[in-house]
């Protein structure tokens, strides 16, 4: 099953209440598959093709404000359009899931895979001090698993979560085990789980207001502090990563998403040459596994950060290891995917046998 199709199955099986989207390559299969599966006939899930990405994210905002489990998906230019809404969702402390099957930019760019939206995803993206929980799948199975994980984390912390995928995991097919169909929550269950939600003052309860507006600075500061405390809690409890052969390695490669798999192949090729490489694959890009990278880096001779961009995650890697060892970047731009051989060459030329600057 293709990654994008798998997302559609996963969101239905999670028991989500709504999906709102607008077509854009390379993720249109999400909406197409949902329309084909007609979940409104089975689970009662709402699927709607909105008039724009802007409308879609605001539908997500409305749905989330009413306590429902809702998501949208898009690709880089569309995600840029959604940033205003994402900022509102974060500021209003609402759970929601956003999928970015990212492509090469800037501008209209290309439709080929890219990881150039790392900064946008992990540093906020829209205006104001906020973060999304960002999950980076490297397999189609993780595309599926992160739908459930993303919703669970979003509801647990009342904050939006993003799956930052790329065209490789979106378009590739591989073996995938779908979760069992979960029932959608009943309206009563939604009301119980989300007493803050706007879905009518049933039983004459006090009115609920979802708003991110507060003109009084002292109160706005308190709201910001509450958000920051939540982010600190998420950093403490939700950091996820994978390590492959880091213990006995002399060098590290840090890479996320599909590129981590190319790096893993490069590690296998390196082993044939007697070069011992370990892989750290951040799974949550925010919160970034700073401590894990620092720990894995202990005693290593150097680190290569491999990304499909001009050098974004490398900043977080450098913050993790400071200047204890050389940290170099290898990236391809514009939708080009490097081969494992290219990654190995970069490791050899930049880290193992760096040419001295003439």
């Amino acid at each position: 099953m293709k990654g994008n199709e798998a997302i559609a199955h996963a969101v239905i099986r999670y028991g989500a209440d709504g999906y709102f989207g607008y077509p854009i390559t390379p993720q249109s299969e999400v909406l197409e598959t949902l329309e084909e599966l007609m979940p409104w006939e089975t689970t009662g899930m709402v699927v709607l093709q909105a008039e724009s990405e802007v409308a879609a994210i605001n539908m997500v905002y409305g749905g989330a404000a009413s306590g429902k489990a809702v998501m949208t998906s898009s690709s880089s230019p569309g995600i840029s359009l959604k940033q205003e809404g994402i900022s509102y969702i974060a500021a209003s402390e609402l759970p929601a899931l956003i999928l970015n099957v990212s492509r090469g930019g800037p501008g209209l760019g290309t439709i080929q895979p890219s990881q150039a939206d790392y900064f946008q995803a992990t540093k906020g993206g829209g205006h104001g001090d906020y973060h999304l929980i960002v999950l980076a799948p490297s397999t189609v199975q993780e595309m599926v698993d992160f739908v459930g994980l993303g919703f669970d984390l979003a509801f647990k912390h009342r904050t939006p979560a993003m799956i930052l995928a790329d065209g490789v995991v979106g378009q590739m097919m591989e073996k995938v085990v779908l979760p069992e169909q979960k029932p959608r929550r009943t309206d009563e269950e939604v009301r119980k789980q989300c007493p803050w939600a706007c879905n009518g003052r049933i039983g004459g309860r006090k009115r609920n207001i979802i708003s991110s507006l507060e003109l009084e600075s002292s109160r706005m500061e308190v709201i910001n502090e509450r958000l920051q405390a939540r982010y600190a809690e998420i950093e403490r409890t939700e950091t996820r990563w994978e390590e492959i052969g880091t213990k006995d390695a002399d060098y590290l490669i840090v890479a996320f998403g599909s590129i981590a798999r190319i790096a893993t192949k490069a590690k296998e090729l390196a082993a044939e040459k007697g070069i011992k490489v370990g892989i750290v694959r951040p799974i949550t890009l925010w919160p970034f596994p700073t401590e894990a990278v620092a720990k894995a880096a202990e005693g290593k001779k150097g680190i290569l950060v491999v990304e499909l961009n001009a050098g974004q995650m490398i900043q977080d890697v450098r913050l993790a290891v400071h200047d204890k060892m050389p940290v170099e970047h290898f990236g391809r731009l514009g939708g080009i995917i490097p081969s494992p051989e290219e990654v190995l060459n970069a490791l050899e030329n930049k880290i193992v046998n760096p040419k001295s600057e003439a």
């Binding site: 209440d17 709504g18 709102f20 709402v46 709607l48 909105a50 008039e51 724009s52 802007v54 409308a55 879609a56 605001n58 539908m59 997500v60 905002y61 409305g62 749905g63 404000a65 009413s66 429902k68 809702v70 205003e84 809404g85 509102y88 209003s92 309206d187 706007c198 879905n199 009518g200 003052r201 049933i202 039983g203 004459g204 009115r207 609920n208 207001i209 979802i210 708003s211 991110s212 507006l213």
Partner: protein, 264 residues
């Protein structure tokens, strides 16, 4: 002779003597921020009365705009979601589709409805979302200090048309409500005002019809209220009412533009 000389206060405050009451849904614990003479307060009151009279308080959700009515959620005692500027119809779409038994209405100004949110407004109406869109058109941006709105009249002075709106520079007034009847998703489109007691009573009846349409899932109802902004227009409330009747109604004539409930 003064009534109070002959009657005890308790005798006066009796149900049978009551000629006016603040609607129960209008929250008296907060101070309204609207300028004296502004039309928004009247529209709020009418909506509050309609919701209470239809008995839908416990399953009505409002979507407030960005603009002067941004704080509407502080005044009318139902659930409210505050939307980003122009996005109220998209927010309302999800609120209603995910809770089809709920009654959802947007409250939008001229910036929200006819400038930044034109796409959302047109498309929600075109999809025939079972919502009520209340559109308060005062031909100016009040909240940000009196700049031009798409509905600003030709020649009208605003902070961004200090010498009066010119067609060659600023285009024509956008009569967005006139577009709504063309969309098959709308069931009811009307343009009213609240500058006299009679006009307010009429607007209330229109709002009631619109909310009834939402309950019956007949499609989208649009109720435009041509309104004054005496502060932005730099006029007394009374003068603003006169100016509106004289100039605004020519461009935005009052009356029903579409009513499919009549045809049935």
């Amino acid at each position: 002779m003064n009534l109070c000389d002959t009657m005890e206060l308790e005798e006066i405050i009796r149900e049978e003597n009551k000629v006016y009451a603040v609607p129960e849904l209008l929250d008296q614990s907060v101070h309204m921020h609207y300028c004296p003479g502004c039309s928004h307060g009247v529209v709020h009151k009418l909506i509050s009365e309609v919701i209470a009279e239809l008995g839908i308080t416990d399953h009505t959700v409002g979507v407030s705009p960005v603009g002067c009515a941004v704080f509407a959620y502080n005044y009318i005692d139902v659930d409210w979601v505050e939307a980003a500027h122009g996005r109220a119809p998209a927010v309302a779409t999800a609120l209603n589709r995910l809770w089809p038994e709920n009654v959802v209405f947007t409250y939008q100004g001229d910036g929200d409805m006819s400038a930044i949110g034109t796409a959302e407004s047109i498309h929600a109406a075109n999809r025939g979302e079972n919502i009520v869109m209340v559109f308060v058109n005062n031909a100016i941006y009040g909240m940000t200090g009196g700049q031009m709105a798409p509905t600003t009249l030709i020649g009208q002075k605003t902070a961004t048309t200090p010498y009066g709106r010119r067609v060659d520079l600023n285009g024509h007034p956008l009569e967005i409500t006139n577009l709504m009847p063309l969309l098959d998703g709308t069931c009811y489109v009307t343009r009213q005002s609240v500058h006299t007691p009679a006009a307010a009573r009429k607007t209330k009846a229109c709002l009631k019809k619109a909310f009834e349409n939402a309950i019956a899932k007949r499609g989208t109802s649009v109720v435009e209220v041509v309104a004054t902004c005496n502060s932005g227009w730099k006029m007394s409330p009374e003068k603003a009412n006169e100016w509106m009747a004289e100039h605004m109604f020519k461009v935005y004539p009052l009356g029903d533009l579409k009513d499919t409930t009549k045809e049935q």
